[in-house]
Protein backbone atom coordinates (compact mmCIF):
# COMPACT_ATOMS: atom_id res chain seq x y z
CA UNK A 1 0.00 0.00 0.00
CA UNK A 2 1.47 3.35 -0.88
CA UNK A 3 2.04 5.87 1.91
CA UNK A 4 -0.51 8.25 0.49
CA UNK A 5 -3.33 5.72 0.82
CA UNK A 6 -2.25 4.92 4.35
CA UNK A 7 -2.34 8.59 5.34
CA UNK A 8 -5.66 9.10 3.60
CA UNK A 9 -7.28 6.12 5.31
CA UNK A 10 -5.83 7.11 8.67
CA UNK A 11 -7.36 10.58 8.34
CA UNK A 12 -10.74 9.03 7.72
CA UNK A 13 -10.30 6.72 10.69
CA UNK A 14 -9.31 9.39 13.18
CA UNK A 15 -11.99 11.86 12.13
CA UNK A 16 -14.66 9.15 12.25
CA UNK A 17 -13.66 8.18 15.77
CA UNK A 18 -14.05 11.77 16.94
CA UNK A 19 -17.33 12.05 15.11
CA UNK A 20 -18.54 8.86 16.79
CA UNK A 21 -17.73 10.21 20.25
CA UNK A 22 -19.52 13.46 19.51
CA UNK A 23 -22.58 11.74 18.07
CA UNK A 24 -23.25 9.44 20.95
CA UNK A 25 -22.04 11.26 24.01
CA UNK A 26 -25.53 12.08 25.26
CA UNK A 27 -27.89 9.14 24.97
CA UNK A 28 -30.83 8.62 27.34
CA UNK A 29 -30.44 5.31 29.14
CA UNK A 30 -33.74 4.06 27.74
CA UNK A 31 -32.08 3.92 24.35
CA UNK A 32 -28.92 2.11 25.41
CA UNK A 33 -30.04 -1.28 24.15
CA UNK A 34 -31.45 -0.11 20.79
CA UNK A 35 -28.36 2.01 20.27
CA UNK A 36 -26.20 -1.01 20.88
CA UNK A 37 -28.09 -3.33 18.60
CA UNK A 38 -28.48 -0.60 15.99
CA UNK A 39 -24.80 0.27 15.95
CA UNK A 40 -24.07 -3.42 15.98
CA UNK A 41 -26.03 -3.77 12.76
CA UNK A 42 -23.85 -1.06 11.25
CA UNK A 43 -20.73 -2.99 12.18
CA UNK A 44 -22.11 -5.73 9.94
CA UNK A 45 -20.77 -3.52 7.13
CA UNK A 46 -18.02 -6.15 7.02
CA UNK A 47 -20.53 -7.75 4.68
CA UNK A 48 -19.23 -5.43 1.97
CA UNK A 49 -15.73 -6.74 2.51
CA UNK A 50 -16.96 -10.31 2.48
CA UNK A 51 -18.79 -9.73 -0.80
CA UNK A 52 -15.68 -8.34 -2.46
CA UNK A 53 -13.56 -11.22 -1.16
CA UNK A 54 -16.14 -13.75 -2.30
CA UNK A 55 -16.84 -12.33 -5.74
CA UNK A 56 -13.20 -11.85 -6.54
CA UNK A 57 -12.21 -15.35 -5.61
CA UNK A 58 -13.63 -17.33 -8.47
CA UNK A 59 -12.00 -20.75 -8.86
CA UNK A 60 -10.44 -20.63 -5.43
CA UNK A 61 -12.68 -22.90 -3.39
CA UNK A 62 -11.04 -22.28 -0.03
CA UNK A 63 -11.39 -18.52 -0.24
CA UNK A 64 -14.90 -18.77 -1.62
CA UNK A 65 -15.78 -21.01 1.27
CA UNK A 66 -14.35 -18.60 3.87
CA UNK A 67 -16.01 -15.66 2.19
CA UNK A 68 -19.44 -17.29 1.92
CA UNK A 69 -19.39 -18.11 5.62
CA UNK A 70 -18.38 -14.51 6.25
CA UNK A 71 -21.26 -13.28 4.08
CA UNK A 72 -23.77 -15.44 5.90
CA UNK A 73 -22.69 -14.29 9.35
CA UNK A 74 -22.34 -10.65 8.37
CA UNK A 75 -25.80 -10.73 6.80
CA UNK A 76 -27.29 -12.22 9.96
CA UNK A 77 -25.55 -9.43 11.85
CA UNK A 78 -26.97 -6.76 9.56
CA UNK A 79 -30.49 -8.05 9.00
CA UNK A 80 -30.98 -9.40 12.52
CA UNK A 81 -29.54 -6.23 14.02
CA UNK A 82 -31.79 -3.85 12.15
CA UNK A 83 -34.91 -5.96 12.65
CA UNK A 84 -34.45 -6.48 16.33
CA UNK A 85 -33.69 -2.79 16.84
CA UNK A 86 -36.84 -1.91 14.97
CA UNK A 87 -38.82 -4.33 17.09
CA UNK A 88 -37.55 -2.73 20.26
CA UNK A 89 -38.03 0.84 19.14
CA UNK A 90 -41.58 0.08 18.11
CA UNK A 91 -42.33 -0.78 21.73
CA UNK A 92 -41.04 2.45 23.19
CA UNK A 93 -43.84 4.84 23.60
CA UNK A 94 -45.02 7.47 26.01
CA UNK A 95 -48.73 7.26 26.32
CA UNK A 96 -51.18 8.14 29.07
CA UNK A 97 -50.17 11.75 29.43
CA UNK A 98 -50.07 12.60 25.76
CA UNK A 99 -46.73 12.06 24.12
CA UNK A 100 -44.61 13.99 26.52
CA UNK A 101 -40.93 13.61 25.86
CA UNK A 102 -38.45 13.01 28.58
Amino acid sequence: MDPQTIIFLSFILILSIFLGFELISKVPSTLHTPLMSGSNAISGITLVGAMVACGAAANKPLITFLAVIAIIFATINVVGGYFVTHRMLKMFKAKDKGSRKK
Binding site: I6, K26, S37, T46, V52, F73, H86, M91, D96
Partner: protein, 454 residues
Protein backbone atom coordinates in the same frame (compact mmCIF):
# COMPACT_ATOMS: atom_id res chain seq x y z
CA UNK B 1 -14.83 5.60 -13.22
CA UNK B 2 -16.66 2.70 -11.68
CA UNK B 3 -14.58 3.08 -8.54
CA UNK B 4 -15.59 6.69 -8.37
CA UNK B 5 -19.28 5.85 -8.51
CA UNK B 6 -18.94 3.14 -5.90
CA UNK B 7 -17.09 5.44 -3.55
CA UNK B 8 -19.69 8.11 -4.08
CA UNK B 9 -22.33 5.65 -2.93
CA UNK B 10 -20.18 4.67 0.04
CA UNK B 11 -20.03 8.33 0.96
CA UNK B 12 -23.80 8.56 0.87
CA UNK B 13 -24.19 5.46 2.99
CA UNK B 14 -21.68 6.84 5.51
CA UNK B 15 -23.78 9.99 5.77
CA UNK B 16 -26.85 7.83 6.33
CA UNK B 17 -25.07 5.91 9.08
CA UNK B 18 -24.05 9.14 10.79
CA UNK B 19 -27.55 10.61 10.59
CA UNK B 20 -29.02 7.30 11.71
CA UNK B 21 -26.81 7.08 14.76
CA UNK B 22 -27.53 10.68 15.63
CA UNK B 23 -31.26 10.02 15.54
CA UNK B 24 -30.85 6.80 17.49
CA UNK B 25 -29.84 8.90 20.46
CA UNK B 26 -33.15 10.71 20.71
CA UNK B 27 -36.34 8.96 21.71
CA UNK B 28 -38.43 10.87 19.23
CA UNK B 29 -36.38 10.06 16.15
CA UNK B 30 -34.89 6.71 17.06
CA UNK B 31 -37.15 4.66 14.83
CA UNK B 32 -36.49 6.87 11.85
CA UNK B 33 -32.79 6.76 12.64
CA UNK B 34 -32.67 2.99 12.54
CA UNK B 35 -34.48 3.02 9.22
CA UNK B 36 -32.12 5.57 7.71
CA UNK B 37 -29.12 3.59 8.83
CA UNK B 38 -30.64 0.45 7.25
CA UNK B 39 -31.08 2.33 3.97
CA UNK B 40 -27.44 3.35 4.21
CA UNK B 41 -26.51 -0.31 4.52
CA UNK B 42 -28.62 -1.22 1.50
CA UNK B 43 -26.92 1.47 -0.57
CA UNK B 44 -23.49 0.18 0.45
CA UNK B 45 -24.41 -3.39 -0.47
CA UNK B 46 -25.83 -2.47 -3.87
CA UNK B 47 -22.85 -0.25 -4.63
CA UNK B 48 -20.52 -3.13 -3.83
CA UNK B 49 -22.33 -5.39 -6.26
CA UNK B 50 -21.24 -3.26 -9.21
CA UNK B 51 -17.60 -3.41 -8.12
CA UNK B 52 -15.34 -4.62 -10.91
CA UNK B 53 -13.50 -6.98 -8.62
CA UNK B 54 -16.57 -9.11 -8.31
CA UNK B 55 -16.72 -11.63 -11.09
CA UNK B 56 -18.95 -14.24 -9.58
CA UNK B 57 -22.30 -13.44 -8.03
CA UNK B 58 -23.59 -16.92 -7.39
CA UNK B 59 -22.14 -17.47 -3.94
CA UNK B 60 -22.77 -13.92 -2.85
CA UNK B 61 -26.48 -14.30 -3.51
CA UNK B 62 -26.59 -17.67 -1.79
CA UNK B 63 -24.78 -16.27 1.26
CA UNK B 64 -26.92 -13.17 1.54
CA UNK B 65 -30.07 -15.25 1.05
CA UNK B 66 -29.22 -17.65 3.86
CA UNK B 67 -28.09 -14.83 6.14
CA UNK B 68 -31.22 -12.80 5.54
CA UNK B 69 -33.54 -15.68 6.30
CA UNK B 70 -31.68 -16.62 9.46
CA UNK B 71 -31.45 -12.97 10.51
CA UNK B 72 -35.14 -12.28 10.10
CA UNK B 73 -36.22 -15.48 11.81
CA UNK B 74 -34.00 -14.94 14.81
CA UNK B 75 -34.91 -11.27 15.15
CA UNK B 76 -38.62 -12.06 15.03
CA UNK B 77 -38.50 -14.98 17.41
CA UNK B 78 -36.25 -13.73 20.15
CA UNK B 79 -37.91 -12.92 23.46
CA UNK B 80 -37.32 -9.48 24.87
CA UNK B 81 -35.98 -11.06 28.04
CA UNK B 82 -33.34 -12.76 25.89
CA UNK B 83 -32.20 -9.58 24.22
CA UNK B 84 -28.75 -9.56 25.85
CA UNK B 85 -28.07 -12.99 24.38
CA UNK B 86 -29.22 -11.81 20.96
CA UNK B 87 -26.98 -8.76 21.03
CA UNK B 88 -24.04 -10.92 22.11
CA UNK B 89 -24.64 -13.36 19.27
CA UNK B 90 -24.94 -10.65 16.63
CA UNK B 91 -21.79 -9.02 17.93
CA UNK B 92 -19.95 -12.29 17.67
CA UNK B 93 -21.14 -12.88 14.11
CA UNK B 94 -19.83 -9.49 13.03
CA UNK B 95 -16.49 -10.34 14.58
CA UNK B 96 -16.38 -13.73 12.87
CA UNK B 97 -17.07 -12.10 9.52
CA UNK B 98 -14.14 -9.72 10.02
CA UNK B 99 -11.87 -12.60 10.90
CA UNK B 100 -12.89 -14.58 7.84
CA UNK B 101 -12.53 -11.66 5.47
CA UNK B 102 -9.07 -10.88 6.79
CA UNK B 103 -8.07 -14.51 6.47
CA UNK B 104 -9.61 -14.87 3.03
CA UNK B 105 -7.85 -11.79 1.67
CA UNK B 106 -4.60 -13.15 2.99
CA UNK B 107 -4.98 -16.33 0.94
CA UNK B 108 -6.19 -14.43 -2.05
CA UNK B 109 -3.36 -11.92 -2.32
CA UNK B 110 0.04 -13.17 -3.25
CA UNK B 111 1.93 -9.95 -2.79
CA UNK B 112 1.03 -8.38 0.50
CA UNK B 113 2.97 -5.44 1.84
CA UNK B 114 3.79 -4.92 5.49
CA UNK B 115 0.97 -2.48 6.15
CA UNK B 116 -1.73 -4.66 4.63
CA UNK B 117 -0.37 -7.71 6.41
CA UNK B 118 -0.47 -5.92 9.74
CA UNK B 119 -4.08 -4.88 9.16
CA UNK B 120 -4.93 -8.46 8.25
CA UNK B 121 -3.35 -9.47 11.53
CA UNK B 122 -5.50 -6.94 13.43
CA UNK B 123 -8.61 -7.95 11.55
CA UNK B 124 -8.07 -11.59 12.48
CA UNK B 125 -7.05 -10.84 16.07
CA UNK B 126 -9.87 -8.45 16.96
CA UNK B 127 -12.43 -10.35 14.92
CA UNK B 128 -11.46 -13.61 16.63
CA UNK B 129 -11.56 -12.14 20.13
CA UNK B 130 -14.93 -10.55 19.38
CA UNK B 131 -16.31 -13.82 18.08
CA UNK B 132 -15.36 -16.23 20.83
CA UNK B 133 -15.64 -13.55 23.51
CA UNK B 134 -19.23 -12.92 22.46
CA UNK B 135 -19.97 -16.63 22.32
CA UNK B 136 -18.77 -17.05 25.89
CA UNK B 137 -20.80 -14.01 26.93
CA UNK B 138 -23.80 -15.53 25.20
CA UNK B 139 -23.32 -18.86 26.95
CA UNK B 140 -23.03 -17.11 30.31
CA UNK B 141 -26.11 -15.01 29.71
CA UNK B 142 -28.10 -17.99 28.54
CA UNK B 143 -26.84 -20.00 31.48
CA UNK B 144 -25.34 -22.60 29.24
CA UNK B 145 -22.27 -22.23 31.43
CA UNK B 146 -22.02 -20.83 34.91
CA UNK B 147 -22.44 -17.09 35.21
CA UNK B 148 -19.85 -17.00 37.94
CA UNK B 149 -16.32 -16.02 37.04
CA UNK B 150 -14.22 -18.99 35.98
CA UNK B 151 -10.81 -18.56 37.52
CA UNK B 152 -7.77 -20.73 37.68
CA UNK B 153 -4.25 -20.40 38.91
CA UNK B 154 -1.98 -18.33 36.70
CA UNK B 155 -4.84 -17.12 34.55
CA UNK B 156 -3.56 -13.59 34.26
CA UNK B 157 -0.07 -14.74 33.36
CA UNK B 158 -1.48 -17.07 30.73
CA UNK B 159 -3.63 -14.34 29.18
CA UNK B 160 -0.87 -11.79 29.12
CA UNK B 161 1.69 -14.17 27.68
CA UNK B 162 -0.79 -15.35 25.06
CA UNK B 163 -1.46 -11.77 24.01
CA UNK B 164 2.26 -11.13 23.92
CA UNK B 165 2.89 -14.23 21.85
CA UNK B 166 0.14 -13.19 19.46
CA UNK B 167 1.68 -9.76 19.07
CA UNK B 168 5.06 -11.25 18.28
CA UNK B 169 3.57 -13.69 15.81
CA UNK B 170 1.65 -10.79 14.34
CA UNK B 171 4.84 -8.82 13.80
CA UNK B 172 6.61 -11.77 12.19
CA UNK B 173 3.56 -12.35 10.06
CA UNK B 174 3.43 -8.71 8.99
CA UNK B 175 7.10 -8.51 8.05
CA UNK B 176 7.08 -11.71 6.08
CA UNK B 177 3.52 -12.50 5.07
CA UNK B 178 4.06 -14.62 1.96
CA UNK B 179 5.97 -17.50 3.48
CA UNK B 180 3.91 -18.03 6.57
CA UNK B 181 0.81 -19.96 5.69
CA UNK B 182 0.85 -21.90 8.92
CA UNK B 183 1.40 -18.74 10.88
CA UNK B 184 -1.96 -17.43 9.72
CA UNK B 185 -3.67 -20.49 11.10
CA UNK B 186 -1.82 -20.05 14.37
CA UNK B 187 -3.06 -16.47 14.41
CA UNK B 188 -6.66 -17.51 13.90
CA UNK B 189 -6.59 -20.21 16.55
CA UNK B 190 -4.72 -17.98 19.00
CA UNK B 191 -7.23 -15.17 18.62
CA UNK B 192 -10.13 -17.51 19.19
CA UNK B 193 -8.56 -18.89 22.36
CA UNK B 194 -7.74 -15.40 23.58
CA UNK B 195 -11.39 -14.40 23.19
CA UNK B 196 -12.54 -17.30 25.36
CA UNK B 197 -9.90 -16.72 28.01
CA UNK B 198 -10.58 -13.02 28.32
CA UNK B 199 -14.31 -13.37 28.97
CA UNK B 200 -14.55 -16.46 31.20
CA UNK B 201 -13.14 -14.67 34.28
CA UNK B 202 -15.88 -12.03 34.09
CA UNK B 203 -19.05 -12.54 36.13
CA UNK B 204 -22.60 -12.33 34.83
CA UNK B 205 -23.40 -9.10 36.65
CA UNK B 206 -20.60 -7.39 34.77
CA UNK B 207 -22.05 -8.39 31.43
CA UNK B 208 -23.38 -4.89 30.66
CA UNK B 209 -19.78 -3.74 30.48
CA UNK B 210 -18.60 -6.75 28.52
CA UNK B 211 -21.35 -6.53 25.94
CA UNK B 212 -20.74 -2.85 25.32
CA UNK B 213 -17.04 -3.51 25.04
CA UNK B 214 -17.53 -6.39 22.60
CA UNK B 215 -19.85 -4.13 20.64
CA UNK B 216 -17.01 -1.70 20.39
CA UNK B 217 -14.61 -4.48 19.34
CA UNK B 218 -16.91 -5.55 16.52
CA UNK B 219 -16.69 -2.01 15.20
CA UNK B 220 -12.92 -1.91 15.52
CA UNK B 221 -12.70 -5.27 13.76
CA UNK B 222 -14.77 -3.90 10.87
CA UNK B 223 -12.43 -0.92 10.82
CA UNK B 224 -9.37 -3.15 10.54
CA UNK B 225 -11.04 -5.08 7.73
CA UNK B 226 -11.67 -1.73 6.06
CA UNK B 227 -7.93 -1.13 6.03
CA UNK B 228 -7.34 -4.59 4.63
CA UNK B 229 -9.52 -4.01 1.60
CA UNK B 230 -8.98 -0.22 1.53
CA UNK B 231 -12.64 0.51 1.92
CA UNK B 232 -13.77 3.85 3.34
CA UNK B 233 -17.28 2.72 4.18
CA UNK B 234 -15.92 0.04 6.50
CA UNK B 235 -13.49 2.40 8.17
CA UNK B 236 -16.07 5.11 8.81
CA UNK B 237 -18.81 2.84 10.11
CA UNK B 238 -16.40 0.67 12.06
CA UNK B 239 -14.98 3.72 13.80
CA UNK B 240 -18.46 5.04 14.61
CA UNK B 241 -19.49 1.75 16.17
CA UNK B 242 -16.18 1.44 17.99
CA UNK B 243 -16.59 4.90 19.49
CA UNK B 244 -20.20 4.35 20.51
CA UNK B 245 -19.31 1.06 22.16
CA UNK B 246 -16.55 2.71 24.14
CA UNK B 247 -18.89 5.45 25.33
CA UNK B 248 -21.43 2.89 26.53
CA UNK B 249 -18.66 0.92 28.21
CA UNK B 250 -17.51 3.93 30.15
CA UNK B 251 -21.09 4.81 31.15
CA UNK B 252 -21.50 1.28 32.52
CA UNK B 253 -18.19 1.36 34.37
CA UNK B 254 -19.07 4.69 35.93
CA UNK B 255 -22.42 3.30 37.04
CA UNK B 256 -20.55 0.66 38.99
CA UNK B 257 -17.80 2.98 40.14
CA UNK B 258 -15.21 0.59 38.81
CA UNK B 259 -12.49 0.91 36.25
CA UNK B 260 -12.59 -1.09 33.07
CA UNK B 261 -9.52 -3.04 34.06
CA UNK B 262 -11.14 -3.93 37.35
CA UNK B 263 -14.16 -5.32 35.51
CA UNK B 264 -12.05 -7.24 33.02
CA UNK B 265 -9.44 -8.71 35.29
CA UNK B 266 -10.59 -8.91 38.87
CA UNK B 267 -12.88 -11.93 38.63
CA UNK B 268 -15.45 -9.94 40.56
CA UNK B 269 -18.16 -11.97 42.26
CA UNK B 270 -16.01 -14.99 42.95
CA UNK B 271 -15.24 -13.85 46.47
CA UNK B 272 -16.73 -15.74 49.32
CA UNK B 273 -17.63 -13.40 52.09
CA UNK B 274 -18.96 -14.62 55.39
CA UNK B 275 -18.87 -11.43 57.36
CA UNK B 276 -22.51 -11.64 58.41
CA UNK B 277 -22.34 -15.06 59.97
CA UNK B 278 -21.13 -13.65 63.26
CA UNK B 279 -24.34 -11.88 64.14
CA UNK B 280 -27.53 -13.67 63.25
CA UNK B 281 -29.76 -11.02 61.88
CA UNK B 282 -33.40 -11.61 61.15
CA UNK B 283 -35.09 -10.36 58.06
CA UNK B 284 -38.77 -9.64 58.34
CA UNK B 285 -40.95 -11.58 55.98
CA UNK B 286 -44.50 -10.69 55.07
CA UNK B 287 -47.22 -12.18 52.88
CA UNK B 288 -48.67 -10.77 49.70
CA UNK B 289 -51.80 -9.87 51.63
CA UNK B 290 -49.85 -7.73 54.10
CA UNK B 291 -48.13 -6.06 51.21
CA UNK B 292 -51.49 -5.25 49.70
CA UNK B 293 -52.65 -3.35 52.81
CA UNK B 294 -49.56 -1.19 52.79
CA UNK B 295 -49.73 -0.60 49.06
CA UNK B 296 -53.38 0.33 49.25
CA UNK B 297 -52.68 3.01 51.81
CA UNK B 298 -49.69 4.39 49.93
CA UNK B 299 -49.67 7.55 47.86
CA UNK B 300 -46.53 6.92 45.91
CA UNK B 301 -44.87 3.69 44.87
CA UNK B 302 -41.51 3.24 43.23
CA UNK B 303 -40.68 -0.05 41.58
CA UNK B 304 -37.03 -1.01 41.27
CA UNK B 305 -36.60 -3.82 38.74
CA UNK B 306 -33.54 -5.98 38.30
CA UNK B 307 -32.34 -9.04 36.45
CA UNK B 308 -34.71 -11.22 38.49
CA UNK B 309 -37.61 -9.53 36.74
CA UNK B 310 -36.28 -10.75 33.42
CA UNK B 311 -35.67 -14.24 34.76
CA UNK B 312 -39.20 -14.48 36.14
CA UNK B 313 -40.60 -12.91 32.94
CA UNK B 314 -42.74 -10.83 35.25
CA UNK B 315 -42.73 -7.57 33.29
CA UNK B 316 -46.37 -7.87 32.20
CA UNK B 317 -47.56 -8.50 35.73
CA UNK B 318 -45.61 -5.50 36.92
CA UNK B 319 -47.41 -3.41 34.36
CA UNK B 320 -50.74 -4.84 35.51
CA UNK B 321 -49.95 -3.96 39.11
CA UNK B 322 -48.86 -0.51 38.01
CA UNK B 323 -52.22 0.02 36.26
CA UNK B 324 -54.20 -1.13 39.28
CA UNK B 325 -52.23 1.13 41.61
CA UNK B 326 -52.81 4.07 39.33
CA UNK B 327 -56.51 3.38 39.25
CA UNK B 328 -56.37 3.77 43.01
CA UNK B 329 -54.73 7.17 42.59
CA UNK B 330 -51.32 6.00 43.61
CA UNK B 331 -48.38 7.55 41.84
CA UNK B 332 -46.18 4.84 40.31
CA UNK B 333 -42.66 5.26 39.02
CA UNK B 334 -39.94 2.89 37.95
CA UNK B 335 -36.42 3.54 39.14
CA UNK B 336 -33.82 2.07 36.87
CA UNK B 337 -30.19 1.62 37.74
CA UNK B 338 -27.89 1.93 34.73
CA UNK B 339 -26.48 -1.56 35.22
CA UNK B 340 -29.70 -3.30 36.24
CA UNK B 341 -30.03 -6.43 34.16
CA UNK B 342 -27.49 -7.93 31.87
CA UNK B 343 -26.96 -5.25 29.27
CA UNK B 344 -27.23 -1.47 29.09
CA UNK B 345 -30.91 -0.50 29.01
CA UNK B 346 -32.12 -4.06 29.59
CA UNK B 347 -34.88 -3.06 32.03
CA UNK B 348 -36.10 -0.26 29.80
CA UNK B 349 -36.62 -2.70 26.96
CA UNK B 350 -38.48 -5.16 29.16
CA UNK B 351 -40.81 -2.54 30.55
CA UNK B 352 -41.36 -1.11 27.10
CA UNK B 353 -42.41 -4.57 25.98
CA UNK B 354 -44.96 -4.64 28.77
CA UNK B 355 -46.25 -1.30 27.51
CA UNK B 356 -45.00 0.82 30.37
CA UNK B 357 -44.76 4.37 29.14
CA UNK B 358 -41.15 5.57 29.16
CA UNK B 359 -41.91 8.77 31.00
CA UNK B 360 -42.57 6.64 34.08
CA UNK B 361 -39.00 5.39 34.01
CA UNK B 362 -36.78 7.47 36.24
CA UNK B 363 -33.01 7.40 36.30
CA UNK B 364 -31.10 6.70 39.47
CA UNK B 365 -30.01 10.24 40.35
CA UNK B 366 -33.48 11.66 39.88
CA UNK B 367 -35.18 9.08 42.03
CA UNK B 368 -32.61 9.39 44.82
CA UNK B 369 -33.46 13.07 45.08
CA UNK B 370 -37.11 12.38 45.93
CA UNK B 371 -36.91 8.94 47.48
CA UNK B 372 -37.47 10.19 51.06
CA UNK B 373 -41.02 11.08 50.16
CA UNK B 374 -41.85 7.72 48.62
CA UNK B 375 -44.25 5.54 50.60
CA UNK B 376 -43.35 2.16 49.18
CA UNK B 377 -40.34 0.97 47.21
CA UNK B 378 -40.82 -2.42 45.61
CA UNK B 379 -37.58 -4.08 44.68
CA UNK B 380 -38.23 -6.81 42.17
CA UNK B 381 -35.36 -9.10 41.37
CA UNK B 382 -32.69 -6.52 42.05
CA UNK B 383 -30.09 -6.82 44.75
CA UNK B 384 -26.66 -5.33 44.25
CA UNK B 385 -28.02 -2.08 42.81
CA UNK B 386 -29.88 -1.41 46.08
CA UNK B 387 -27.23 -2.82 48.42
CA UNK B 388 -26.67 -0.24 51.12
CA UNK B 389 -23.21 -1.56 51.93
CA UNK B 390 -22.07 0.08 48.71
CA UNK B 391 -22.81 3.35 50.46
CA UNK B 392 -22.13 2.57 54.13
CA UNK B 393 -19.58 -0.17 54.43
CA UNK B 394 -16.07 0.89 53.50
CA UNK B 395 -14.85 -2.70 53.58
CA UNK B 396 -17.43 -3.93 51.10
CA UNK B 397 -16.07 -4.87 47.68
CA UNK B 398 -18.79 -2.84 46.03
CA UNK B 399 -18.23 0.21 48.22
CA UNK B 400 -18.54 3.37 46.20
CA UNK B 401 -20.92 2.02 43.61
CA UNK B 402 -23.84 4.40 43.22
CA UNK B 403 -27.07 2.73 44.31
CA UNK B 404 -30.76 3.46 44.32
CA UNK B 405 -31.19 4.35 47.97
CA UNK B 406 -34.45 2.52 48.55
CA UNK B 407 -33.79 2.26 52.29
CA UNK B 408 -34.64 5.95 52.59
CA UNK B 409 -38.21 5.29 51.49
CA UNK B 410 -40.85 4.77 54.16
CA UNK B 411 -41.41 1.12 53.32
CA UNK B 412 -39.34 -1.26 51.26
CA UNK B 413 -40.69 -4.50 49.86
CA UNK B 414 -38.24 -6.93 48.45
CA UNK B 415 -39.56 -9.60 46.13
CA UNK B 416 -37.03 -12.35 46.12
CA UNK B 417 -36.88 -16.09 45.83
CA UNK B 418 -34.69 -16.62 48.88
CA UNK B 419 -32.20 -14.90 51.13
CA UNK B 420 -29.40 -15.84 48.77
CA UNK B 421 -27.04 -12.99 48.10
CA UNK B 422 -26.93 -11.17 44.80
CA UNK B 423 -24.58 -11.72 41.99
CA UNK B 424 -21.67 -10.01 43.61
CA UNK B 425 -21.98 -12.55 46.42
CA UNK B 426 -22.30 -9.85 49.04
CA UNK B 427 -24.82 -9.84 51.84
CA UNK B 428 -27.28 -6.98 51.73
CA UNK B 429 -27.81 -5.05 55.00
CA UNK B 430 -30.92 -3.54 53.44
CA UNK B 431 -32.77 -6.78 54.11
CA UNK B 432 -32.44 -6.34 57.88
CA UNK B 433 -33.53 -2.74 58.11
CA UNK B 434 -36.64 -1.95 60.05
CA UNK B 435 -38.57 -0.50 57.17
CA UNK B 436 -37.73 -3.46 54.96
CA UNK B 437 -39.99 -6.45 54.44
CA UNK B 438 -39.17 -9.48 52.35
CA UNK B 439 -41.82 -11.17 50.25
CA UNK B 440 -40.37 -14.53 49.38
CA UNK B 441 -41.37 -16.50 46.35
CA UNK B 442 -41.34 -16.32 42.61
CA UNK B 443 -41.83 -12.69 41.55
CA UNK B 444 -44.52 -13.67 39.11
CA UNK B 445 -46.53 -15.53 41.72
CA UNK B 446 -46.13 -12.85 44.37
CA UNK B 447 -47.21 -10.13 41.97
CA UNK B 448 -50.31 -11.98 40.86
CA UNK B 449 -51.22 -12.61 44.49
CA UNK B 450 -50.97 -8.91 45.25
CA UNK B 451 -52.97 -8.07 42.14
CA UNK B 452 -55.71 -10.48 43.17
CA UNK B 453 -56.13 -8.67 46.47
CA UNK B 454 -57.17 -5.48 44.74
Amino acid sequence: MRDLIINFFYLISSVFFILGLKMLSSLKDAKKGNFISAIGMLIAIIATLISKEIVDYFWIIIGIGIGTILGIISAKKVLMTKMPQMVALLNGFGGLASLLVGWGVYYYNVNIDIFTASTIFLSILIGGITFTGSMVAWAKLDEKITGKPILFHGQMILNVSLLLAMTIIGIIFSINPSSTLILSIVLVVGSLILGVLSVIPIGGADMPVVISLLNSYSGIAACATGFVIKNNALIVSGALVGASGIILTSIMCKAMNRSLSNVLFSGFGSLKIQETSKEKKEAKSISAKDAYFVLEAAKSVVIVPGYGLAVAQAQHLVKELCDILEENDIDVKFAIHPVAGRMPGHMNVLLAEADVSYDKLVEMDDINRIIDTVDVCMVIGANDVVNTSARDDKTSPIFGMPIIEVDRAKNVFILKRSMASGFAGIDNPLFYKENTAMIFGDAKKTLSEIIEEF
